[in-house]
Subunit: 218 residues, 2 copies
Amino acid sequence: MLSTSEENYLKSIYHLELLNSKGASTNAIAKKMNTKASSVTDMVKKLSEKELVVYKKYQGVQLSKKGKKIAVYLVRKHRLWECFLVDKLDFTWDEVHDIAEQLEHVKSDDLVDKLDKFLGFPTVDPHGDPIPDKNGNITKRKRIQLSNLEVNQESILLGLKDSSDEFLRYLDKNEISIGQKITVLAKEPFDNSLTIKVGKKKMLISQKAAHNLYLLEK
Amino acid sequence: MLSTSEENYLKSIYHLELLNSKGASTNAIAKKMNTKASSVTDMVKKLSEKELVVYKKYQGVQLSKKGKKIAVYLVRKHRLWECFLVDKLDFTWDEVHDIAEQLEHVKSDDLVDKLDKFLGFPTVDPHGDPIPDKNGNITKRKRIQLSNLEVNQESILLGLKDSSDEFLRYLDKNEISIGQKITVLAKEPFDNSLTIKVGKKKMLISQKAAHNLYLLEK
DNA sequence: ATATATTTTTAGCCTTACCTAAATATTTAT
DNA sequence: ATAAATATTTAGGTAAGGCTAAAAATATAT
Ligand SMILES: [Mn+2]
Ligand SMILES: [Mn+2]
Ligand SMILES: [Mn+2]
Ligand SMILES: [Mn+2]
């Protein structure tokens, strides 16, 4: 049985590996987990002894098969609980992350299965992120950043790159939500800002914001 | 912010105080928490410094007002989660305790309020135990053990003294559940066993089992 | 190629929450 | 009232998961 701390390390390494397939560096893990590099070294040694990661001194870590399975299961639990909080308890999407961080560590496989069923086997969480199924399979959708969409192309908002509370509230304020149709009407060459149509509304969006929106790539 | 361990101590002391209003002894706490008396002494000193319990060496502990408030809130959370697990996720009443033991430590007042609302503000948990309201008030119902009911008196099953999984499954097997009408048909003087009518069924019940059933006292 | 900067590890400490064994206080029995 | 039994506390130790500061390895710049 893993501790909450061990579980959090595995999940962080998993997310870092998605960004950099070579593995996760000590410093990157430390930054992500708000801790010190020396603490990371300690923990990584322990995870390595348990064969949950592959670690070579000074070379960073990668998850082992066993470690990845646990990490994906944690992601599954996190996202299922986020669905529960938003769909059933009426939380907003910027309120659920910290609570799901706690709930994901509750130990009961039965609970996860029954929660999944109760929610109707959702495939994406409130932020548009995919929910791994019972076997750990994740459906990958082809997606493209809004900033890379051609002018006059229409697509559907699938998910977010940055799910920070600030960005979520920016989207709320501008009535942008997952599943909406978005069309690029014009690109401003000077600052790469975009004029877009979201639903029926026209609006201006910065390059930075456009970078953070993933659309369905057809 | 209290640790899970500190919270568990407060809850155990609370339950022990309900049995013995003078307070909880070191040994009683150790037994209840499956730990050693010396560990209890350590923790009790810490809780005393935080003014959550009143502690005098060799004299056991009582919860302070502050400590009791926290303990009651934990009981509230535990029982709300048990309702969720049984009513929404279709767990049986003998499966929910250990999961609720974990869920009760999730930190979010908002979560508790919203869960309460989602469940329709329940007043009792699946075992018939009362759920403290938002202000910590617990509705006390007059109740009497089945073993103390007069012959030919009818009453309603309110709750259980012993909620062990074995007893819960004994009740399931005999189709006895919270809310049912029960009448004592006869008492056997030799072993104090009872012939009772539960719903429409007649059955024999031992003194031990009858001790564990609380009925509404009119 | 060498010097400098950055990253990572090691060494040594701290706190929490446990433990065992020994000492001390309290309770119970004679 | 004293002895024996029981309950509680103290002393000293462990493992987990943090930390800082110093040492060592690796990466970068000249
Ligand atoms: Mn999240
Ligand atoms: Mn999410
Ligand atoms: Mn319970
Ligand atoms: Mn209960």
